[in-house]
Each structure stands twice: as C-alpha cells, then as structure tokens.
C-alpha cells in the first residue's frame, strides 16, 4: 500500500500536495518539539530524593513567544490556503469554456449527463450514462452537480477534488485531468445503506479520441469509448 497521497492527476493537485507537505513539515516540527520536550522533561525532571521543583508562576516573555510563533504561522498558512481555495473553489473559478458534464447523484448511482455533439448541456442531444464519467485529458471540465434525494459527495482522490452534491442546490466544480488514466469516483458523504457501493468509473481519454467520440450521440458515445483509456494509448482500436 501507499503511505502517501494517491498519485496526483489534476492541474491543481500539485498545489494541494504542496500545501499538504508544507503543513506536514510545519506541524511535524511542532510535533517533534512538543513530544521531544515532553519526553525530555519526563526523564530529566523525574522525582528523586532531595530534589525540589523550581518554584515559578511562569514567564510572560516565553508565553509571548509561544503565542506569537503559532499565530504568525497560521496566518501565513491561512493566506496561502485562501489563494489556492479561491483558485479551485471560488465563485468565479470555473474556467471559461470548460467542457460541461452534468453529474446527478441519487441513491445509489451517479448519472452523468453529456452535452452531446453540440457541447452544451440542456439541449435535446444530451444523453445520460450510469456510473461512467468520461473526460478528455488536458481540458477543464465543469461538473454541474445535483442530487436527487439525499446529500452525496463527489470525490476523485487523484484529482484532489471533493464537492458535496446537495438536493435543491446546483453546484459547479471543475478540474482538469493531466493524464490518460482510469480512476474511481466515490461517494464521500453517508447517503444510506448503499453508500459503500456508490462508485463510478472515471475515464480520462486522449483529447482527439474523446473529441471523435463526443460527436456521436447516446449509445454510440459510450460504445465509441471502449474498452479503456490505457488501451487507447497503447494503440487499441477502442470501439
């Protein structure tokens, strides 16, 4: 098994991993300071006959230092995180011209609505596939998230993307896949007895292959995107 985050596969995954690593280093230092300090004190100041504790009520200077250092650190972390947060999840963050895909979550299925040949959702040539998210590589995809019944959560670990799908709300999330791959989409919010089986396949296709298939409608689209991206890369015919 891996002892680290899953391999990164979206444009912002690297930034998130950097923040994760940065926080890990900072908290790691804090952890070592505290735990090593505790262990040191436990050994060095254990009770022995004839010893008496040093009588003090504290030191304002020390307390100012150990309040200020964490305060400054978290403010810097906060500012850095906020920039990244706005880039990924901000109101205006969805890139213009992103390829739209409707993702409708219901107990216990993901229904993906593709825009059809015209590239727009909400038109007659839209069609829906169950538990299969096909996306092109290297192009931003805008996910129009909705939910039928209860709250679900759209989670693709390799994309570092998670977004709840809430009934009654229309939520946009976006990502841009960076490599041809087949991945899994999971539900991250308890949605009932079938929560653990609410899983879909995510196929990231070479852009030319995807474009060729996206001109098809309904059944042909799914049949065109076969059997898997890996085979598409190694020269398999795919349809």
């Amino acid at each position: 098994m891996s002892w680290w985050l899953p391999p990164a596969a979206s444009t912002f995954a690297g930034d998130i991993d950097f923040m994760f690593t940065l926080i890990l280093v900072i908290t790691g230092i804090a952890l070592v300071v505290v735990e090593a300090g505790v262990i040191w004190f436990v050994i060095a100041y254990r009770a022995r006959p004839g010893r008496r504790a040093f009588y003090t009520h504290g030191s304002t200077k020390a307390e100012v230092v150990w309040s200020a250092v964490p305060a400054v650190t978290v403010v810097i972390l906060g500012i850095m995180s906020n920039g990244l947060w706005n880039k990924i999840k901000g109101r205006e963050s969805v890139p213009a011209g992103a390829y739209p895909i409707g993702v409708h979550a219901k107990q216990f299925e993901w229904q993906m609505t593709y825009p059809g040949p015209d590239g727009r959702l909400g038109t007659d040539d839209d069609f829906t596939a169950r538990n299969q998210l096909h996306v092109p590589v290297g192009r931003p995809v805008a996910v129009h998230l909705s939910a039928e019944d209860v709250i679900h959560s759209f989670f693709v670990p390799e994309f570092r993307l998670k977004q709840d799908a809430v009934p009654g709300m229309d939520i946009r999330a976006w990502f841009e896949a960076t490599k041809v791959d087949s991945l899994e989409l999971g539900c991250a919010e308890l949605c009932g007895m079938g929560h653990y089986r609410m899983r879909a396949r995510v196929w990231v296709w070479p852009a030319d292959k995807y474009d060729a298939c996206a001109k098809q409608t309904a059944d042909e689209f799914i049949d065109c995107l076969r059997p898997s991206p890996a085979q598409a890369l190694t020269g398999g015919t795919g349809s």
Partner: protein
C-alpha cells in the same frame, strides 16, 4: 400472564376453525370454477431502452444480448406479459380464505427481479433472494402496509410478509435504478399473472358473480365481470392497445 394469554388464543383459534369446518366447506381450489383468459396486445410494440450494465460485470455476464427494460413485455404471439389479474370483488360474505401455501419467491438475478410481477396472500411469506452476489437494496414502497427498505450485500435471502391487501406494492433497487418489481397482496388466492404465452388462470372459485381486474404497470387496470357456478371454466380476455 402472557403464557396464559397465548394458550387462550390458541384455544379460541381451534374452536373457531372447528366451527368454520362444520358450518361450511372450505374453498377447495381443485373443485371450484376457473376463470382463464388472454391479455392481448394490439398496435406497435414499444421499444424498450437498453440497460447499460457495463459497470456491473457480474450481471452483464448473464446476458448474451444487451438486456432491455421490461416495463412492457410483448410476447411473440402478440400478447402482453406481466399482467396481474385478480378477483377484485364478488366473493361471498364470510368467505374464509385457506391458509397461504408456502412462500413466494422474488429473485434478483442478472440485476433484474424474477418474476417482475407476482401475487401473494396476506400473511404469506415472501422470500427475497439475491442470486447476483452484488449489493441490491429492496425498497418496498407500500402504502397500506408498512414499507421497508433493506439491503442484501451478497448471495442471501430475506423473508418478509404483508398484513393488509394492497395492489400493487412496488419494489425497487436503488443501486440499479432500472430494477422494478410489482407485488399484489390479496386476502384470497384468486389471482394470476399472464406469462410468456399471455394467458392466465384463476382456479377454485366458489360460485358467484365476480369483478375481475387486470393490472398492468404501464397500461393501468381494466375490469371484467364473470359469473361462475360449480366447476365450470369461463373466459375473460383483456385487450391492451399500444399508446
């Protein structure tokens, strides 16, 4: 106290059964009248959408041709399958139904319910089986009865029963949105379902004038009236037109 109560209940039950046996012959399905018929279908048979089972390999493997939805199943001989036909009214007052025989089985096989339409008596055991070995949940959307929503993660069976008449109780699976079954719960054994030949038969009817209803999930109910005596067989055909 509880023990005493149950002894009393059993005693009362035995006496009541004895009285019933003495006062009149219990309905004997072998000896009564029979109503049979065909569920005819006219017009173009509607095209059923294909079911995409590509994300359920275990189910997909059970089919050679791509499976389709089954809201309307027209038999090769031009009849309509999955019509639930039952005696809606007309049974004599004070009619005592026989105890339900055995259990009825609903199987989840190939990510479809087998059978899709079935009947059961009030209080009869309904065995729900999962032959697929993948998760199915069974949501019974009963209205007169207590609804239930259970899951079967693997090959297993569960038993349920309904204690009030209800036509129809809809079953659905939320893991596989296309899965539907319909169960008619009746206080008597006089029901049938049109099969692959489009015929049904209701046997063992006591003499009387009956309203027979035929129910189809898409085309709705139709009724016919039939009067039977003795052990005769009468015919009641129903015709459904494509919409």
């Amino acid at each position: 106290m509880r023990k005493l109560g149950s002894v009393a209940a059993v005693a009362v039950g035995v006496v009541a059964l004895g009285l019933a046996a003495w006062s009149r012959q219990p309905a004997d399905q072998g000896s009564g009248a029979t109503v049979t018929g065909k569920t005819k279908f006219t017009g173009t048979k509607p095209a059923m959408p294909k079911i995409d089972m590509s994300e359920e390999p275990k189910c997909k493997a059970k089919y050679t041709a791509p499976p389709t939805e089954e809201a309307v199943v027209v038999n090769p001989n031009g009849t309509l399958a999955n019509v639930f036909v039952y005696v809606k009214s007309g049974l004599p007052a004070g009619y005592k139904p026989p105890a339900p025989a055995g259990a009825v089985l609903v199987d989840q096989d190939g990510c479809r319910y087998r059978p899709r339409v079935l009947g059961a008596m009030v209080g009869q055991t309904i065995t729900i089986k999962n032959s697929d070995g993948i998760l199915h949940n069974i949501k019974a959307k009963a209205k007169a009865n207590r609804p239930f929503n259970i899951s079967q993660p693997t090959v297993m069976s569960s038993t349920k029963s309904f204690d009030k008449p209800e036509v129809m109780v809809a079953f659905e699976c939320n893991v596989h949105g296309w899965m539907r079954a319909w169960l008619g719960v009746l206080p008597h054994p006089f029901f049938g379902v049109s099969g692959t030949d489009g015929t049904f038969s209701i046997k063992g009817l006591p003499p009387g004038a009956y309203t027979i209803e035929a129910w189809h999930e898409k085309y709705g109910p139709q009724t016919a009236t039939v009067t039977v005596t003795g052990t005769e067989t009468k015919t009641a055909d129903f015709t459904y037109a494509a919409k």
